[in-house]
Amino acid sequence: MPPAVILKGISKKFQQTTLRRDYITLKSLFLNPFSRKGRPKDEARVVFQDLDLEIPQGISLGVIGRNGSGKSTLLKIMTGIYKADSGSVLINGRVSSLIELGAGFHPEFTGRENVFINGTILGLNRKEIEKRFDRIVRFAELESFIDSPVRTYSSGMYIRLGFSVAVNVDPDILLVDEVLAVGDESFSRKCLDKMTAFKKAGKTIVLVTHDLPTVERFCDQALWLESGCIQVQGEPRQVIDAYRQEVARRDDLRIKEEEAVSACRGEERFISGTRWGNGDIEISQVRLLDSLGQERRVFQDGEDILLEISFQVHRPNPEVIFGIAIFDGNKTCCYGTNTHLDQLVLPPLPETGRIRLKLEKVHLIEGTYWLDAAVHAQDGHCYDYQSACRSFAIRSALKDTGIYRIPHQWEWDLTE
């Protein structure tokens, strides 16, 4: 079977003028005649350079990547809305693209009238739409609204109708651009069900999304796009892992940069929203290490995590307490402890030093977590408190729920 989509040597660049909508107008010429705006030739932004991509038939491919990495442009090139500067696009089969739902809907017209126009735009003829009409309306759950003008629809209803028409075109290849995020939960599930049915029918799906769990659950293959280059293509789990680590690395870099900037300003006291304290003792660095001593951001379920807090003493204090806390995405505290609670008495601190805490066999459920680190006096007086100073992710093959996996075991006694 030939691949559904073959892209060969695709290059695409945009003139910066088109991107910035920076037209040369008489006014701009008049106001600063020597501005560089007049010469847009040298300001081209390359989106793709010699991109090769093959999508086998019957595969659902999840395309992930940061904003502006070229995901939507890729879809538009596949659809044919954008023409590549060079290279060839080969598509085997009928394409329906869900880049814009309800394209060409006219607010003054009823849902019924708009279904017919929208369907025609997507390439159906009148008879085909009539045949599918009931199915479309039922799927969109708009039976009682189909004869009211679309302008009276809520945005969810609008999207539902648009999606419903688009998927009922019966394409061989479905291109979806971040549309499942809209609509309520039950409809999102319905969309996914519909797409699963598509998949079962052997159709090809290309899904552009930031919703990584959906990619992992739904797609056979994932593709990570970074500044127009295919970073990794393959098994969704591995691609997503690699992507998450990269995101964590970037976040890390950004945080470090911010720290460097604030250090340059000579801020001795930490009064920002995420850091406070009088600065007598300063936490200079917090690192997350694995059992080999490598700094990591993504840990597997059940791994040991070593927290390393580097400190610097500016003014010695007796009775110093170090503490940490772990929060999940909902700001629920999963675990928190400190040296005092663990009944440790620290010896007098040197000027600089490190203190480590080994978390053994961490069975937090899969997700992203935030770490707070603090050093304070016994009376609660804060020297340095850093809220959400590090984030890390836990990956797991098990999809159980809650916060922490309590070590457990099932047993049964089935004999009477």
């Binding site: 538009k76 659809t79 044919g80 809305i81 693209s97 880049i99 814009e100 009238e113 126009i117 009148r126």
Partner: protein, 262 residues
């Protein structure tokens, strides 16, 4: 070049049902929500005619027999022409998500504007006939020329709109220039005055204007009840086909960039 033109026509033909439904929608949308609704198709030209009749018949007292009827004959095709040009030039830049997010031949958009206005013109013809009839003017056999004239006029308009719509994507000034230019063009075209009123040597120059050639043809068959000047028709037809060819070529040549520029 010819393969591009063939492509242009084929795509338009393939999407004819979309053109159909969009034209119908365009006409419905125009008057939806208004109290008089579709009656405006007839009322609009009549009111415009009323204004001109007041100025030229009563205030300026132009002495031409059945002057209102004469004006009406030329005014209706001009309205078709000028509204198509204005709306058609806009059609790509105002196409929004239809241009940037969906794949379908974008020549559908200007074609819809032109055809909707043509339909408007055709629908106002009964009013024109009634008006002329009331004045005692009964157009006869020369009316058989009407389909030919309309088709040639359609080619002319379509060619011009395709060019303007393409250029307008890159220079948005076109739509503003056009609006002003159309006023000038209107007065240079013998619509409010017959050609015989133009003193020499200007009467020779008037016919350089293709809209004058076609306007005279409309007047011939409706008002003077005679066959139009075949030479003029031939000239206009040739020019229209040329314009249409250039328009289609230009449009096809640049349409792939529309999605990025709009």
């Amino acid at each position: 070049m010819f393969s591009l033109i063939r492509q242009h026509i084929q795509d338009l033909y393939r999407y004819r049902s979309l053109v159909n439904s969009l034209v119908v929608r365009e006409l419905k949308a125009r008057y939806r929500g208004s109290f008089l609704g579709f009656l405006w198709t007839f009322l609009n030209p009549l009111m415009l005619l009323g204004v001109y009749a007041l100025v030229f018949n009563i205030y300026l007292r132009i002495r031409i027999e059945h002057y209102a009827g004469f004006m009406f004959v030329g005014l209706l095709p001009w309205i078709w022409f000028s509204s198509s040009l204005l709306e058609g030039t806009h059609s790509i830049t105002a196409g929004g998500s239809l241009v940037t997010k969906v794949l379908f031949p974008s020549q559908v958009l200007p074609a819809v504007k032109i055809l909707a206005n043509l339909l408007n013109y055709l629908l106002s013809l009964p009013v024109l006939f009634g008006f002329l009839w009331a004045m005692g003017i009964r157009p006869g056999w020369p009316l058989l020329w009407l389909p030919v004239i309309i088709v040639l006029h359609l080619f002319f308009i379509n060619g011009l709109v395709l060019m303007l719509a393409t250029v307008n994507v890159f220079f948005r000034d076109v739509q503003h220039i056009l609006a002003n230019l159309l006023t000038l063009w209107f007065f240079l075209t013998p619509i409010l005055y017959p050609l015989s009123q133009v003193p020499p040597p200007f009467d020779k120059w008037v016919l350089i204007n293709p809209m004058a050639q076609i306007s005279l043809a409309y007047q011939d068959i409706f008002f003077y009840q005679r066959n139009p000047n075949e030479g003029n028709i031939l000239l206009f037809g040739g020019l229209s086909l040329l314009l249409l060819g250039i328009g289609m070529f230009l449009f096809e040549r640049y349409k792939e960039t529309f999605a990025e520029k709009v």
